[in-house]
């Protein structure tokens, strides 16, 4: 009851005429998720329930902003749950000056040194608790000399997305600047220092790490170039697990060049991440020299939005990966557009067992062109080709057809014959028709032929996904999703999945979604970080509210 009066008081206070004289604004958003059913885990079906309530409130008073997030997970679907205030901050922003105390995310350049973010669908969160200051300024008017600088300090607790019992703790101090001294160029740099505590079982390993990053940008007449290089040193504090002092270095480079002119846009990206080049037996989530959880560079992999194409994503290893991606958009007319994409990624080196006894001692096989990815299985390559065309027959009818070819290899040095090789050929189709201006019909059909080397029996199988939805603008969508496979060894033990979904908008920004049925599950990724999501059979409810 006390709480009720507190809220009533706050409510009346903010709506009282006296306060309406002050430049006061409030915005809030709320997300409620509930699910109950069975999850098909490897060990058998288990009951699954989740209840997540997240409310965000932002209060703006002139140049100040105050924000808080109330979170109540009982339990959370993925990641580590919270009950209580999980985010709070105070921010002052005036013209080109910003300072914030409390929780925040930050990205420096392209993220080679720092990219802290949250991806709730996979339970990933690298939110800082501390303070930051950002200043932007332009000197001169005709050819302005632009400066953008940020300094920050704080701590973060990172819970491993694949093992929520592991929490790494970091204390970070960092700075970043970016200047534009002449018209077409930008120059930037970052420095980051961290003290981290990384658990290995019950033992905590302490590290100190420093990252230096530099970048260069160039933009002229439709050509945009960006280059970034980062160098990291990690100093280990010896303990029972790591008994001798070590201070290995690692580095990473990223480059992108894009060319745009009327109707065509081409983007080429290159990555060369060597932050932790280690022998196969040393690759581990608990390795203290691994890339830090808040180091998240571009993945140079296409992000798909269709179901079967998203099924075999690539789990990027920011410690050891080299590759490129080319993406082309071409729109010869308002009605017709094409998108083509090609990418290739692999590890830098192959390894051999150099021990002549029964013991194992891996040794890197030298390679001159390690700055290029390799297609050989020993390098765990991942490559894909994608082509899609979209055509609007008229204002009411749209069709889309694509074709994609992917190959992914997870090489086993212990037993090459048991390497995980997945090849897939996918054709996604989409048909969209609008009737009487406000009624919509959408059909999505995907066909996939796949090969999985780890299947004991038939290694080739087919999958088919069909989604049918009807909508009535502005507030109602009914959808049915059906998936079929002839794979005899699907981890769920099933061959058919079906679910129905109802979405209703109470207003333009208040939505409820109800779904019931079975979902196939699989690997879910965000920014190159992946977790396996088990197949699910049951009921889900999502309620999204925005109060602006």
């Amino acid at each position: 009851m006390k709480l009720f009066f507190v809220f009533l008081f706050l409510n009346l206070t903010f709506n009282f005429p006296l306060f309406s004289q002050i430049n006061l604004k409030v915005s809030a958003s709320n997300q409620f998720r509930f699910g109950t059913g069975k999850e098909n885990a490897l060990t058998g079906d288990v009951t699954k329930k989740y209840f997540e309530e997240i409310g965000d409130v932002r209060l703006f008073i002139s140049d100040f902003q105050f924000g808080a997030r109330f979170e109540y997970d009982d339990p959370i679907e993925f990641g580590k749950g919270t009950k209580g205030i999980s985010r709070r901050y105070a921010e002052y922003k005036k013209d080109a000056f910003l300072t914030r105390a409390g929780n925040f995310y930050e990205i420096f350049a392209k993220g080679l040194a720092l990219n802290a973010f949250e991806s709730r669908p996979i339970g990933f969160n690298t939110e800082f608790d501390g303070a930051k200051v950002n200043v932007k300024h332009s000197f001169g008017k005709k050819t302005p000399f632009k400066v953008n600088a940020t300094i920050l300090g704080g701590g973060l607790k990172y819970t491993d997305v694949n093992d929520t019992s592991r929490t790494e703790e970091y204390s970070v101090r960092a700075g970043n600047f970016n200047i534009s001294p002449v018209k077409y160029f930008t120059l930037g740099g970052s420095y980051l220092y961290t003290n981290g505590k990384i658990p290995t079982g019950n033992i905590m390993t302490e590290i100190d790490a420093e990252i230096f990053e530099g970048n260069l940008g160039f933009s002229w007449k439709g050509i945009d170039l960006f280059l970034s290089y980062a160098n990291k040193v990690t100093i280990l504090h010896p303990n029972q697990v790591y008994t001798r002092s070590q201070a290995p270095r690692g580095d990473g480079a990223y480059g992108s060049v894009s060319y745009t002119r009327d109707k065509i846009g081409i983007n080429i990206e290159y990555k060369n991440y060597r932050f932790n080049l280690v022998t196969p037996d040393q690759r581990s989530a608990t390795n203290p020299f691994k890339p830090l959880p808040f180091q998240n560079a571009p993945s140079c992999i296409k992000v798909y939005s269709t179901t079967l194409l998203s099924r075999f994503p690539h789990n990027v290893d920011f410690g050891d990966e080299v590759g490129w991606q080319v993406d082309i958009f071409y729109s010869p007319s308002d009605r017709l557009s094409f998108n083509a994409n090609a990418s290739l990624t692999s590890r830098h080196y192959d390894y051999r067992d150099a021990d002549t006894t029964v013991l194992t001692r891996y040794e890197r096989i030298p390679r001159n062109n390690s700055f290029l990815p390799s297609l050989r299985n020993e390098f765990s390559p991942y490559w894909e080709l994608f082509f899609e065309t979209e055509y609007y027959w008229n204002k009411n009818l749209k069709t889309k057809i694509g074709v994609a070819r992917k190959t992914s290899v997870l090489y086993s040095i212990v037993d090459p014959a048991s390497s995980d090789i997945i090849r897939s050929f996918t054709v996604p189709l989409e048909f969209q028709y609008t009737i009487f201006k406000i009624y919509g019909l959408k059909v999505v059909a995907e066909f996939q032929r796949a090969y999985n080397s780890l299947r004991a029996g038939e290694k080739h199988y087919n999958s088919q996904f069909t989604s049918l939805s009807v909508s009535r603008s502005p507030n109602l969508i009914l959808a049915g999703n059906f998936e079929f496979t002839d794979d005899e060894e699907d981890p769920s033990g099933k061959k058919f999945w079906a679910n129905g979904e109802l979405t209703y908008k109470f207003s333009s920004s208040n939505i409820i979604t109800l779904s019931y049925g079975s979902e196939r599950g699989g690997l879910k990724c965000s920014s190159g970080i992946c977790r396996y999501v088990n197949p699910f059979n049951g009921f889900r409810l999502t309620l999204i509210n925005n109060f602006n």
């Binding site: 958003s29 995310y105 990206e269 603008s473 908008k505």
Partner: protein
């Protein structure tokens, strides 16, 4: 549970006022300030990403509406929330389509979250004074009718 209901009650009983100002860089690196755009007329802010299919469908519709009503003062700003992973594809996509509206980068999603955005497409429509007329979550076929009506109302066209 009581606590949740109380907080919801508290949030829902606010009547909302104007939006906060922001400055973001456009595709050419020029600073774009919201308060400057509001001088031209009502501003429709669409938060989108290159990987978001409904965002691009909505963008096509909004571009047509922008071309139709820009001379009457309608301003459309596409705010890209692409992160470091896909941000380099924003300019090639926009320019290959020949879109002429303003596109700005919000790579760290700070403006997106300050407007209460959760998932794209998410849009906020502001009147000339900067007051929030409406917010939009998601996009479905046929929403162009509703969007055009909202633009006509905001412009005061009879």
């Amino acid at each position: 549970m009581k606590l949740i209901l109380l907080i919801l009650f508290f949030l829902m009983s606010f009547s909302i006022t104007s939006a906060q100002d922001f400055t973001l860089e456009d595709l050419e690196g020029h600073s774009i300030k919201l308060s400057d755009l509001l001088k031209e007329g009502p501003v429709f802010i669409q938060f989108w990403a290159t990987w978001c299919v409904p965002c691009k469908e909505e963008m096509k519709v909004l571009n047509e509406l922008y071309l139709k009503y820009k001379d009457k003062g309608f301003v459309y700003v596409a705010v890209s929330i692409d992160d470091q992973k896909t941000v380099s594809k924003v300019k090639p996509y926009i320019e290959s389509k020949g879109y002429s509206f303003i596109t700005v980068y919000d790579t760290d999603k700070s403006v997106f979250s300050s407007f209460g955005g959760q998932d794209p497409p998410y849009s906020v429509f502001l009147d000339k004074k900067g007051n929030v007329i409406k917010t939009y979550s998601g996009y479905m076929q046929g929403d162009d009718v509703k969007l055009e009506n909202d633009i006509i109302n905001a412009l005061g066209i009879k």
